[in-house]
Amino acid sequence: MYKIVFKYEIKSFLRYIREKNSRIAGLIIGIILIILYIVFVYMIFSIPIVREVLREAKQMIMEAMPTFLLMIFLFALSGGFSIVTSVRKNQRAKINLFLNSPMSPNDVFRAFLLVNSLIVVLFMMILAYPALIGILLAAGFSVLSVFLFCMSLLLGVLTFASIGASLGIFYVRLTRKQRLALWLPIAILGGYIYGAVYSFDPNIINIFQEISAFLSHIASPLRWYSSPLHLGVGGISELLLFALSVVFSVSLMEGVSSLLRRKYMAGFIKIPEERIKIKYVSKKSLTYRLFGQEVGGLFRKELRMVSREPALVSSILFVYIVYILLLLNFAPGTLGGAPSEELQLANINLIFIFASIMSVVPPMIIIPTTLAMEKQNLALLLSSPIDPTKIVRAKALMSDILVAITITLLTPICVFMLPPHIAVVVILYVAVLSLLSTGLVSYIAVRWTDFKAENPRKALKTTGGILSSAIMIVSIITSSFISIFLVFGLVSVMHLVVIELIAILISYIIRRKLIRAAGKYLGKIEATEYL
């Protein structure tokens, strides 16, 4: 059974690669990069001083490993969760195909869970293993210890991916409101923890140390997974702990596959029925008056679709919370009294960088994702009597809402932290950047989105991804330059404001042109690209 499922998956992967020359080229480049990475890792850990430093840190590595494993396993858990909820929705057809054959349903689910978990963690393992093996060997762990630890890590990752999948089974049954109620606190908490960790607050560090000590306790399963690293010290008792981790993993995976089989066969995995009040939209509604009926209607559709995608909402929210926390935590000398001149200059630089990130991120998240979410429904839009530019414009408007939120959040922060005239420069800078980035990302998204991608949030093709990252890098560099100009008095604030006002006008024209170009390109996309 496992052989059949593996063969099936490998064949479909190879067919996917063979479909386009660019994919074959991508695979070859990927393999070359991995080889270079392994060679690089080997070279780094061959340097005597690096080996010496790592040997001194051996004890620390052993102690910190359970916390490191927690992070890896949480990643695997979220991967497993997304198998069921979004990434591999077409699994149902494949599972049914195998269930119709004379195979044991238990085997079918066990194999699918294993294959999916492996697919989810494959990329992570390719990146993590060479460096991890290099570090452990350089730190003086025996080959046997490292080998057993790698096995243990793989087993743990598969186990937690399976647990994630089982959580996904229950998640798909939640209504939109329940999902939102679940995601909002997770995003807020996640954002808070992320921001707090990077603020290096001593209290937070203490809490993390306590958690780390708890995870390293002998009764903690995470300690069992890291037991191979203690073989040199603990001997047989560590081997027993390793055996315990194997038993723990196998029983959890078995339990999850059995649960999945029972729930699947009982028809438990289905979307709940929800009713949405029928409401006729008045021609006098604000969206129609502002954007016209066609763009207004499309904009309302985008708004509904995005707000009903809790994972997307929470990912946007997460970015906002993280950056606001980082901004508040890092910015020195803020609310209490008048800050010194040096502190003000530091604040200018910091706020400029964060403002530029928050101006570029919304279009980068919203536009490609909503475009990929269209999938076959692009046929519905493109067979209707509208200019395709309006489809792109509605998506750009969605991203504008987030930019408006950015400006609303930034304004009080700027007012508290900066002198008013510099706050004006920052706000105007956000306007320029967001106008430009929305236009650029609109074109990039239309040009380089894979409309058939299983996960709309990862639908941007490699070229599109590289170009989007370039926009981000350029905007950060520009913001640093402006800060330097301000800090060293190379340009007066008045001049900057005038330049920015002109730039807003030019950016607006560029944005319109880019959106029009994107619409023109969208209109030429053939149905075979998305059907």
């Binding site: 979307i271 709940p272 029925e273 929800e274 009713r275 949405i276 009040k277 029928i278 006729y280 939209v281 008045s282 021609k283 009926q293 066609e294 207004g296 209607g297 499309l298 309302r300 559709k301 509904r304 679709m305 009903r308 995608e309 076959q376 429904n377 692009l378 046929a379 519905l380 839009l381 493109l382 067979s383 209707s384 009597p385 509208i386 200019d387 209109g523 030429k524 053939e526 149905a527 075979t528 059907l531």
Partner: protein, 259 residues
Amino acid sequence: MSEAIFFDKVTKNYDGTTAVRNFTMRVRRGEIVALLGPNGSGKTTLMRIAVGILRPTEGDVYIFGHSITREPIQAKRYLGYVPEDAYVYDSLSGFENINLIADLWGMDLKEHEDELMRLAQILEMGQALDQLVSTYSAGMRRKLALMMALIHNPKLLIMDEITANLDPKGLASLEVILAGLKKEGVATLFSTHILEVAEVLADRIVIIHKGRKIWEGAPEDIKAETAEGGKLRDLYFELTGGPEYEMIIEFLRMREKVG
């Protein structure tokens, strides 16, 4: 303008394969035309070209005199399209999907409320319009797609695989709706694999094979065309190749031996 749609020498190539070859056909106002042909004969490609989501390699399609390639917005205004797999938004309710169509066609849905509710009743969708489409069955999705195609009063209705996912009652309702639209002068072009449906519904039948039009005529012409004065089925098999009876018998014999 008596001509609702005119396929003018349409050819479509995909990566070196010709899906449609020099295809010419007219559908007049108030006429119902059935497009028949084996799998992969080019029916869906033709319909996708007609609604402007595929571009012809050569030739053009005119809808009420407007070229779909040069004046797409004017041409699409007349169109109602029901694809084989319904194009509907899963994360919107049925009503929200219809509302989107109203916005795209610039109509005030409130003014058509009675019409919408009556259509929903006919198609047994009245109770489902406030539900998310993700909870719909395949048949309900198809009915919603039909409602979306009809709500803006198209002058030309294009339906790919007319019977797909419809139950007998839904199909019977559709028959009555098409007859009513015909009286109003609405032209209908549909494709189907069920030959009896084509015989009953269509004023004219067009058979295509390997991207070429191989026969065109009214259902009454069929008797004269077939050697045995038979049915559409005989003509269809004569033109496109019927079942391989000898191979089927051989296959059944092989099974018997294995059994």
